[in-house]
Every structure is written in structure tokens, then in C-alpha cells.
Symmetry: C2
Subunit: 527 residues, 2 copies
């Protein structure tokens, strides 16, 4: 398949615009195959109108039909074979095994949502039957379930060109919910996006889903994205990326006549608290964390960017070991030139702040495409007083905050913004002593983990990927795991609705056999 | 008990401010007992700091302890006896049976949440056990449940001085969730609020809940409310009232360094679609709706403010009957002088628009305290083109929109903003024919009802009270029914957490016996 660079306006390819862009190999500066045509106002508008029309048909597809559609998308992605892998490797500079793993994760997510739909109970059906003889007033028949909200707009992330992109978790969960999707392709991996979009459109056709169920558009700058977020048919936005990008969308969406939710996952510094018992194992801990800080060139939103500890007889050894481990890790190519530049500038700025000590840096200097592993150290007061240290530096960087005592540790934790993750390292007896600090960390994050590293986000029911602001715009939702579907639905109550007009999930006979709360009891029984 | 007019700063009474206000009887202009002291900046700040401190203790109370606390509040409210009823009647001008009913609803809500906590499964516990031998990567132990978000601020509504007020659904659901609450009392029924706050503080003490679990402050104008919404410890806001008031809070909350959700229920016009088969029963339908339009002097957010029909051989008779029925209903005293004035101005403005026909008005003229039942009629085009007709007029008013044909009806429905409710009247066969229009209504509301009236909001699992903007700020949540608790919690994932540190809901042995999703299966089993 050659890369055509066109926009997917529903099932139709379109390139009416006169602007386009190319993607360049980071190391050779040579352009990759393909010229990507930025969508015009009219193309975006047409895609969204198609999507809204499709919604009225797509939302009536049964859960089983939608499950089959998601599985077909997964199959079509696998059918792209090595062509997809090679293109994604070329665009992302990530190693082939990582991209193969990410493809597995992407089709795994689609199949996970298909399984969720086949089971069906996720719609939270509740039934309160009529009580015509109740005193002083009778009760009507009331039934409630989660229903799709309408067209969803998805913005691709740069750091997961498959799993948080065109057919990533946002798209999979929105389609699973019954919402048509329009994707704004990321300019750094538009070829990958095109291949995936082709696979999705194949599935749309094979499964007889309405034209407009899926669209994907290219755009330079922010014009196309802004038009999408402001368009009246769009009912929610999924985004993974920078604070700046996410906040721009959040503000735009709140300025609409009808504000809509923006589910922006904007990263965090992921504090890791090393309790005294963990510092005793200085070498082991340092090696574990040096690896976590630098895996994938540190380009994970769950990268451990902050290490908290209270000075004791082992803390100096831990710092020394961490420094040694980091020095031995070689720089590697980053996702794009803009990310590499932001990382270089970010570390330089951090290291030029007052009262910061460079702990260690890779012995090998980086090229202009690479990120150089770096760890530094500050005191509790320095950290608390300088907002710069609270900002994420996207790449293989981490900052150790050394507290003199537990009171200082409390102040440091209190000063933290919302986080995706927090980590606690240590023995159980130690954790019992630090219960207050642990809750304080929990209260500021979406996932709290014990004796592990925050990198690695499992896709399952129990995952929470999101956290209090500014880690995400809305901590009540997750962008990873089955819970992600809840972002694109809302409860609707049907009062005294004739059985024939009810969605299957709420019908007397419970044809799908789902778990419901019927008259206060969890049951799969029919009425 | 005499009315002291002081603020409840946690368990302490305080009146340090030099501003105060009184409440006047609407008919006699005489002041009611009590002078209400507006809280100072310092008092508000102290209340919120106490609340945040209380959170760290209150969130660790077991579900059973919180259930007992809610039941004690209910008991204490009942112990207030007739003193509460008389004060509320005097402040609201609502009849005694209505207020007694509303008290029943209020204590019923508290007990409903207590029952929800005793059952315990609402926390949506999920467990994915570790898979140490999984290939290519092992899986960590992951467990997730809903956890309280922190201090919640509640703004009382004017039209339900008990059920949407100091111990109303917002407070009950927040306390149930594990969140301390600060209430901003409504200036039109501050004496009622004081009595209820006294009952809550009695319960705080009896149940040994921390000082700061509950506070209530008075304030004139918007200063106190704004200070609360902007205070860093506040994590969510519950509000029921006008669009103007709700949007002001929503905008403030989004301007914070850390934006917080405002759950504002701002009312709606509640479209009711009369299908041809229903118009045949002109007299019966007209009587049913005249009653619903005027019940409680029309002061319900679910008041049927919009009646949609397609002209046919019965539509004229329906309009005539509706007009006759309305003419025979006498005006009644409204909640407050400002609400009466807004209603008088609102109907006058509506009736002065171009191309509106007054259908009928109560034969009896209203006094300056009363609202006069009124119905009017416009064509589809007039409705679509004039945004004035899309605004709620809070009181016993409704507008009939007469469409020439189904195409016009489609355009009218498409032009509607988000609504709390939509209603469909007619026979089942007719509904099958109008399926598209019915879905279009569902897509714009939180509750869709069939062959009934929207007034009357049942408190149960299946209720959805909320709807797409501007009916509410967030249609994914409800302010009535057990679902209301979800506004004040967020999912937190615990990864590889030692069993001893896990909340009871996630422990291996499932000590609460709640329903959980364990390794993909719904079960109450332990691990």
C-alpha cells in the first residue's frame, strides 16, 4: 500500500486543501513516503455532519454488532502486517519489538472492549418497577442505563503511535460506547494513522456500519483541531499529550455555547516515595529506578520524575547508586525533533535553577536526535518554593527531593499537584508507619503502587489512568482500561416506557442476560 | 428553639461579621424571627480548613459508620418536629402537607444512602489478580474502587427548602461518599437551614464524627459563595437553581488554578410531545397537564413548560380544553418576592414577543405575592427563530408549539437545548411511528417519560435528574437518586498494595461481602 496522504471523510478519501506536510526521518533528515493534505473547513464540516447522521444509526446497533465491529478492526490491523510495523518504527524511532508490543496492546484493547460488550452489564441497567398501590403516592416504572452521547473527537498522542492513537483506547472506547469518532491525526506519525484508518474503514464496510461512523483528518497547526472542538455536533473530546495542548482544548470546549467535556490526560511527574526500609537496598533500588526513568527514552506519562526520601544513613548511598546507574545508560533517539528539543531545553533550564545539584548524567553525550539520561537533587524547601520543579520534563529525567525529616516530607507532598501515579517503596511495617503520607499521596493521584515502578500501564478493569488536575482534566474518568467507556456515555432514565420501545438492556425479559439492579437487588433475572 | 442566626463553623457557632439579613413574610411584609449573620472571610476560611482536616478522619470511617451517621441525621430532623414544619411553611409559603411530604422525602433520601452504604457494592470494586507467569510480561495485582474526593460545597435551592437544601440530596450524597460538606444557606429560608444544621451537628457529635465534617454559612450577595468555590480545599460544588447562578459558579470553578466540577442543575422547559392519538383525548389530557403546569405554583424544575404537537383535527380542541382548564385554576403565593417578580416579568416579556397568542390565563387576577397560571401558543417557526421562547419561565406557565407537519416537528426538536425531561404522550402504535422523534428527544434529556407528567421526581436507583447542557453542567451525573453519590468520588487504583493497607472493599477476604468484579467475573467471593 502506498501512502496517499488523504483525509478520511467517513468512507470517502478527500484532499481538497492546498496545504500539506511531510514527515522527516529524525536521523537522516530525509522525508518519509507520503504528503499529508490538511483538511479544509468544508471537509471537517462534512465529516462531522456524516458522523452525526451516522450516530442515529450506529447507536441502534446491538452490543454484539459493535463487538463484532471492534474485533474486525483488530483483525484488519493485524492484516496490515509488517507494513504497519515498519512505518510506525520509521515515524516514531521506537524499536521494532516495542512497536510490535504496542500493536498487541492496541488490538488487545479493541478485543477487551468487544468482550465488555458481549458480557453487556457495563451499561449499569437499573430497574425500579411501578408500585401502583404505594402510599401516599404510587411509584412509576423507572429504568436507567448508560447511553452514548454522540460524536466523539479523538486527538492522537505522539508517544504511543498505535495504542493512544487512531485506533487506540479513546477510539476503541468511544466506538464501543456507540459513538461515532473523528480522529485528528498526529503530524509526527500520519502515515501510521493512515494505515490504521484504512483498517478501520475496511471494518466499517465489512460490518455494514453507517458511513460517518469513523473519520480521520490531517491538519497543521491548530486550526483543524479547534474547528472540531467547537463544532456543535461534537459531544466530547479525548486527548493525550502536553498540558499546554490539553488546556487549550479544555478552554475552547468550555467557551462553547454548549460546553463539552475534554478528557485530556496531560502527564505528571509521578512521585515515588522511598521509605527508610527501601533505602537499605540502595543498589537494587537504584538499578530498578534508573531503568524505569530511561525505558522508552523516558517518553511515558508515568515516568518516575520525582523521587522523595527522608535523609538517613542510607540515603547518600542510594543517591550515589542512582547516579552510577544513570551514568551507564546510553542516550537514545527520541520520538520527534520537537520532543528532543523540549527535553534538551527542559533539562538545561532545570539544571540552571538555584540550589539544584546534578547527581548524574549518561557518560555518553547525546546527538541532536537523542535524549540524555539525567538525575538531579534538591532540598525540600527548594522544591516547594520553585514551581519549575513541579513541571514534567518529558524524557529520561528524574529529580530527587531530599527531606530533612517527616514534617518536611509532609510539606513536600502537600505541595504536589495532581498526578497520574504515586509509588511507595518499602517494607509493610514501614508503610504502616507512613500511612498518613501514603493517603496523602493517594489523594493526589489516580493510581498508587507499592514496591514497583510506575511505567507500565496494564489494560484491564482495575486500571485507573488519569488523576486530579493537572494530570488530567477530570479525575473521575480513566483513559485506559474498560472504565474508559464511561467517558462517552451518560445515564438516561426511561419512565413508564412501553417494553417494545425500551433498549434491550432494559426490557422485562432481559434478553441479553445482563446483570441489573432490579428492585434493589443485583440480578440477571427477567421481571 | 429560638433562631440565633449564627454560622456553623464545624461544631462551633460564630457571628463575627457586621452584616446581617432578615426574612420577611411575603404577604404581611412582617419580619420572621431571626437575624442571619453573614459569614466573614475568616469564618469561611476556618470552616473550610476544619473540613479539610476532618476529611482525613472522616474518609476512614467505615461505610457502616457513615450509614449510621446519615440515619442519625434523619432521626434528628424528625426530632425537630412541628417547629421545623412551621418555620419552613412560613419561609416558603408552601402548604403544610407539601412541606411534611418534603420532610419525608428528605429523611427518606438520607436513609436511602444509608442503605446504599450498608449494601456497599456501589464503590465498584474491581480486582485483577497478579499473573506472575503471563507472557510476554507478568501482570501486577491491580484493584480499583471509588474513593471520596474531599470537601464538597453545597448551595441550597429556593424551591425545595428541605429536599434540595441543607440536608438535601447533595449533602446526603456527599456525606455518604465520605466527603465533608459546607453548605451556603439560601437567604429565603435561612431559619429552616439553621434548624436542619442543628440536627446535623447533633448527629456529628452523637456519631463521633470529626469537627468540620459539616459547616453551614450565611451570606448576602455572592461574596461568601465565591470565596467557597475558589478555596483550594474545595473539590466539587453542588448547586440547584437558576442558569445565571449556576453558570457563574461554573465559570469561577473553571478559572481556578485547579478547576473543579460544578454540578449545577439549572432547570429546563421540559418538552412534552403530544402524538395524534393523545390529542383525541383532548379534555383528559388538558386537565392532566393544566394540573402539572400549576402544581406547587409551577415552581418545579421539571414543570412542563413546552407542549409540542402537530396540527390535526383534534389539536384545536386540545388547545381550547387546556385554555379552559388553566382559566379555572386560581393564582397562589410563590416562594419569594424575587421569584414572583421574575415570573411576572417573564410572562409579560414572553407575551409581548411577536407572533405569540395568549391561550388562557387564570380568571382570577394575582396579588403581588402570587403567580397567575398562563398558557400561550406559537408556531414552529416563531419558536425556532426566537431564543426567548427557549428560556425557562419559572412558575405556572407553559407554551404550546404548533407544528404544521412532522418536518416542522423535527426542526423544533433539533432546535431544543438540553433538558431535564422529555415526555411523550400517545398510544404505543403511534410511538412506533414517531421513533425517530422520540430518540431525538431522548438524546436531549436526562429522563424520558411516557404517558405521564414530568413533575414528580422519584428518589431511587433508576432516577436521572440532570441532562445535557444547559439543563445541567454535566449530563453524566444525577442530583437525585443513589447515582448522585458518584459526583463526589473518583476511581483510585491500588497496584500490589499489601492487604493490610487496602480499604476493606478491596481486601482479599472481602470482609464487607460486596459484589466485585474479580478477575472478570461479578462475584461476592473472597480471593
Amino acid at each position: 500500500m502506498s501512502i496517499h496522504g488523504k483525509n478520511f471523510i467517513g468512507n470517502d478519501l478527500s484532499s481538497n486543501g492546498d496545504k500539506s506536510s511531510k514527515i522527516y526521518d529524525l536521523k537522516s533528515d530525509e522525508p518519509l513516503e507520503g504528503e499529508f493534505f490538511h483538511a479544509t473547513n468544508e471537509e471537517v464540516d462534512l465529516a462531522l455532519k456524516k458522523a452525526n447522521k451516522a450516530f442515529y444509526i450506529y447507536k441502534d446497533k446491538s452490543q454484539l454488532q459493535r463487538a463484532n465491529f471492534l474485533e474486525t478492526i483488530a483483525d484488519e490491523i493485524m492484516n496490515l502486517g509488517d507494513e504497519l510495523i515498519l512505518r510506525t518504527v520509521a515515524e516514531s524511532n521506537l524499536p521494532k519489538p516495542r512497536i510490535e508490543g504496542e500493536r498487541g496492546r492496541t488490538v488487545g484493547q479493541l478485543r477487551m472492549f468487544a468482550n465488555l460488550l458481549k458480557e453487556g452489564s457495563w451499561v449499569e441497567a437499573t430497574i425500579d418497577e411501578a408500585l401502583p398501590n404505594r402510599e401516599p403516592l404510587p411509584r412509576n416504572d423507572l429504568r436507567k442505563m448508560l447511553r452514548p452521547i454522540g460524536v466523539v473527537s479523538v486527538f492522537e498522542a505522539s508517544n504511543f503511535p498505535l495504542a493512544f492513537a487512531c485506533a487506540g483506547g479513546d477510539t476503541a472506547s468511544a466506538l464501543a460506547a456507540g459513538c461515532p469518532v473523528i480522529v485528528k491525526a498526529h503530524s509526527s506519525h500520519s502515515g501510521t494513522s493512515e494505515l490504521i484508518a484504512t483498517a478501520i474503514i475496511n471494518a466499517v464496510k465489512k460490518c455494514d456500519m453507517p458511513d460517518g461512523t469513523f473519520s480521520m483528518v490531517h491538519g497543521g497547526g491548530r486550526t483543524v483541531g479547534q474547528q472540531i472542538v467547537l463544532h456543535e455536533v461534537v459531544k466530547a473530546v479525548g486527548f493525550t499529550g502536553s498540558t499546554q495542548g490539553g488546556m487549550k482544548l479544555f478552554e475552547l470546549a468550555n467557551q462553547r455555547k454548549m460546553p463539552i467535556p475534554v478528557f485530556a490526560e496531560m502527564g505528571s511527574i509521578n512521585p515515588c516515595l522511598f521509605l527508610p526500609s527501601s533505602l537499605k537496598k540502595a543498589e537494587e533500588m537504584a538499578q530498578l529506578y534508573a531503568n524505569s526513568i530511561t525505558v522508552g527514552v523516558g517518553q511515558f506519562c508515568t515516568n518516575p520524575g520525582l523521587i522523595l526520601l527522608v535523609k538517613d544513613e542510607n540515603s547518600e548511598a542510594f543517591k550515589t547508586e542512582l547516579s552510577k546507574s544513570i551514568e551507564n545508560i546510553v542516550p537514545a533517539t527520541m520520538l520527534s525533533s520537537s520532543i528532543q528539543e523540549a527535553y534538551s531545553t527542559g533539562t538545561k533550564e532545570a539544571l540552571s535553577q538555584d540550589n539544584i545539584t546534578l547527581l548524574g548524567q549518561s557518560k555518553v553525550e547525546n546527538t541532536k536526535a537523542e535524549g540524555r539520561p539525567t538525575v538531579a537533587c534538591v532540598s525540600a524547601n527548594t522544591f516547594i518554593e520553585n514551581p519549575k520543579f513541579h513541571e514534567e520534563i518529558f524524557g529520561p529525567y528524574s529529580l530527587v527531593v531530599e527531606c530533612e525529616n517527616i514534617d518536611e516530607l509532609d510539606l513536600v507532598i502537600s505541595s504536589l499537584d495532581g498526578q497520574l501515579t504515586s509509588t511507595v517503596m518499602g517494607e509493610e511495617a514501614d508503610m504502616q508507619k507512613f500511612k498518613k503520607q501514603i493517603f496523602s499521596l493517594e489523594n493526589r493521584c489516580g493510581r498508587i503502587l507499592f514496591n514497583g515502578v510506575p511505567t507500565g500501564v496494564e489494560v484491564c478493569h482495575s486500571m485507573q489512568h488519569g488523576g486530579p488536575f493537572p494530570a488530567a482534566t477530570d479525575p473521575r474518568f480513566t483513559s485506559v482500561g474498560t472504565g474508559a467507556i464511561r467517558r462517552f456515555v451518560r445515564p438516561v432514565c426511561f419512565q413508564d416506557c412501553p417494553n417494545s420501545l425500551l433498549p434491550d438492556e432494559l426490557k422485562d425479559e432481559n434478553p441479553l442476560g445482563i446483570l441489573r439492579i432490579t428492585n434493589d437487588k443485583y440480578t440477571r433475572d427477567s421481571l
